[in-house]
Symmetry: C2
């Protein structure tokens, strides 16, 4: 069978399975998810063995440390996957929920029922724990799932989906419910992106070039997960200690992820008090600072930020710093240079907190908290299949609700239109 | 200025205006919409005069009657536009509404705030009343709007947007709030579809080839409004008189629209009682019947339906008829051949009504009512910018809510991530 034929077969099986999954009882899905958690626990050693192969190969190929770190499935990560399965099991089933039923003047009852999207194609890079999160979210939301993971995680993904599929088999669910594309040939992705007859949505998660390629080649609707150029604005009216902790956390706690801060904006009145303090702390933690003209006047020996810095996602221990004259300049800067991902204000002023929440055009807007919280688990969604940076359909962390859509249901007693 | 430069300028102005529109008070929007209603009433004669030019030109060009009918702005249609402005004015403002605020274990409050999409590009064919509906829905939902209507309605669209813009001017709203592309050059559309930096969503409404061209050329997300192959299933357990009225209404009341019935499915047990009766009534009303083998056995002298008939949107006084053995065959047929638009069951049986509602994968699923009700006004949305046949973001009639998206808002008191 050619790759093209194989992918077509996978897509057809998924479509068939999606009709069955859409009508499962909440209890069946919950039981299967809890069984999956048990199965992962019972198979920890198998998982570690297969993952070890991937990790060794990545080391041979001299991948960067951060990359290898993301690939590893250790005890802690396996336990986290188990926890996430249990949390998703306990979530309310979104499917079949009826929202906002209203009665029309002619007696028609018009409501919206939440239903699965159908078949999800998920293209992601090399974090194998995402395989389990995505599988659990799609089962809970009644969707069939086609997984295409990074080639470096192939052994881990094969064993994980094998274990999950054993549980689905015991529950007599169709084989198309959860499928992994096992070939690492890139043509498989290109073939998949054209099967709009069978696949309802493509979710790419990974580097910018992957997402751009997918978006350009796909005839299936794509939910994009682009980069995060996140800002924190420290207002003049502020608890300086709180600002320091939030800002430090957002940059340093995990700099290589999309919700880490890349640009710090500071009100000019507070800058002389705040910046020397926080910049010293940053520099001790190994953070390189790139400042605007005004920051350079205040702090000696730091590099000047170029126009390009304001729109760069460093994903590293680098921070651009700008002194602003007020909240309006702040909001303009964020809406112009940001990537509409996650942005925060630290302030004690009520009006400014409201203005910031309202006017910053981003997927997640924070008051007095670190941008690092943009995450499905932290937002109470159990897990996430990704963080959407687009406006249509889903914005921010995507959980089970975002993997559904609605249909109108209309209950009549013989109404006809005049 | 070249067309390309002109379109770019329009898009930039719209982007600028969208920031202002997003933050308007509900009262400002309501007042402007009511003023628009008054302005249309005060300018009826100007509207009719300009519309007359379009209609005369269409007659010269020998366009079909149905086309010319859609183009006409008579007293009744202008009054309907006025009514629709008033209804949209009274709707609840969706912008700024906060949904589902929850408290997380660490004390963070996580909620979703409804916000405008930003800039809408609306490409539509020759019904000028749609110009007013779209303008009103976009203003209410805080979006800037770029209109590109059919060239045959150009004079009508120019006068309508001129009147609406006079009101926006009095309210001191930016010029980019509501713009009509006045050139009828097709390159203008192609240029617009590439301006993803400024336009957030493209909504094409019209024939299938228009929508397909737009979807293929656009780098901006598109909400598609495809055809309607709508079904009605008459169950064996049924009020025959109710079934007759619903089925007749869905085919004959206005056959040229997307929510008219194209295929009638009848349970085999009721077919001998129901079909002779309804087919005679259809034939008297000039409806051509195309039946499957079993229907042909029951009713003499009708044409045989081909495989192609089951997936054809006639938009005309033609109906395909099929006798089915049960509700499962019905649901399979609809999900296979339908266009996932609007489908209905007529039954007195509770379980079958629930099964149909749950398993038919369409934007609007009806029990005991005509499919002709799929419409923003009828569903209580005030009006509609179109009827989405896709699953992502919006499905079915799109009103003000569907022209918004959500952003997460997070209220903390100093939380940082461990």
């Amino acid at each position: 069978m050619s790759i093209k034929e194989k992918i077509l077969q996978i897509a057809k099986q998924a479509k068939f399975a999606s009709r069955v999954l859409a009508n499962l009882s909440s209890r069946t899905k919950e039981t299967a998810l809890l069984r999956m958690a048990e199965a992962l626990r019972a198979n920890k050693e198998r998982i570690k063995e297969e993952n070890y192969k991937d990790v060794e190969k990545a080391k041979e190929k001299k991948f960067p440390c951060a990359f290898i770190d993301r690939l590893v499935l250790n005890e802690k990560r396996i336990e986290r996957m188990i926890l996430s399965l249990k949390e998703i099991a306990k979530l309310e089933d979104p499917v079949g929920k009826i929202e906002s039923m209203q009665k029309r003047p002619n007696g028609l009852l018009v409501g919206k029922m939440r239903v699965p999207l159908g078949v999800i194609g998920f293209i992601y890079e090399s974090r194998p724990d995402v395989t389990v999160d995505a599988s659990a979210l799609c089962l809970k939301s009644g969707n069939a799932l086609i997984l295409r993971g990074g080639s470096e995680a192939i052994n881990s993904n094969i064993i994980l989906t094998k274990i999950l599929n054993e549980v689905l088999g015991e529950a007599r669910l169709p084989v198309g419910s959860l499928q992994l594309i096992k070939t690492t040939d890139r043509r498989a992705v290109m073939d998949m992106l054209k099967l709009d007859e069978y696949i309802d949505v493509i979710i790419p998660r990974g580097g910018e070039s992957l997402i751009r390629t997918v978006a350009e080649s796909s005839t299936i609707p794509v939910i994009k997960h682009y980069k995060g150029i996140c800002h924190i604005y420290v207002d003049e009216e502020v608890d300086l200690k709180m600002a320091e902790e939030i800002v430090f956390n957002a940059k340093v706690q995990r700099p290589g992820v999309c919700n880490a801060m890349e640009t710090l904006l500071v009100h000019k009145k507070i800058a002389p008090d705040f910046l020397p303090l926080i910049i010293e702390r940053f520099q001790k933690a190994g953070v390189e600072i790139r400042g605007d003209e005004k920051t350079l006047n205040l702090i000696k020996g730091i590099r000047k930020a170029t126009e390009e810095d304001w729109s760069t996602e460093y994903l590293d221990l680098i921070l651009s710093v700008k002194i602003v004259k007020d909240i309006n300049e702040t909001i303009s800067h964020i809406n112009k240079y940001g990537s509409h991902h996650s942005d925060a204000i630290v302030t004690t002023n009520y009006e400014k907190s409201r203005k910031f929440l309202q006017e910053v055009d981003s997927a997640a807007v924070f008051v007095n908290a670190s941008t690092r919280f943009t995450d499905g688990g932290e937002f109470g969604l159990g897990a996430e299949i990704g963080i959407s940076t687009q406006k249509l359909h889903a914005r921010g962390p995507m959980g089970v609700n975002e993997l559904t859509c609605t249909k109108f249901i209309i209950l009549g007693d013989g109404q006809t239109r005049e």
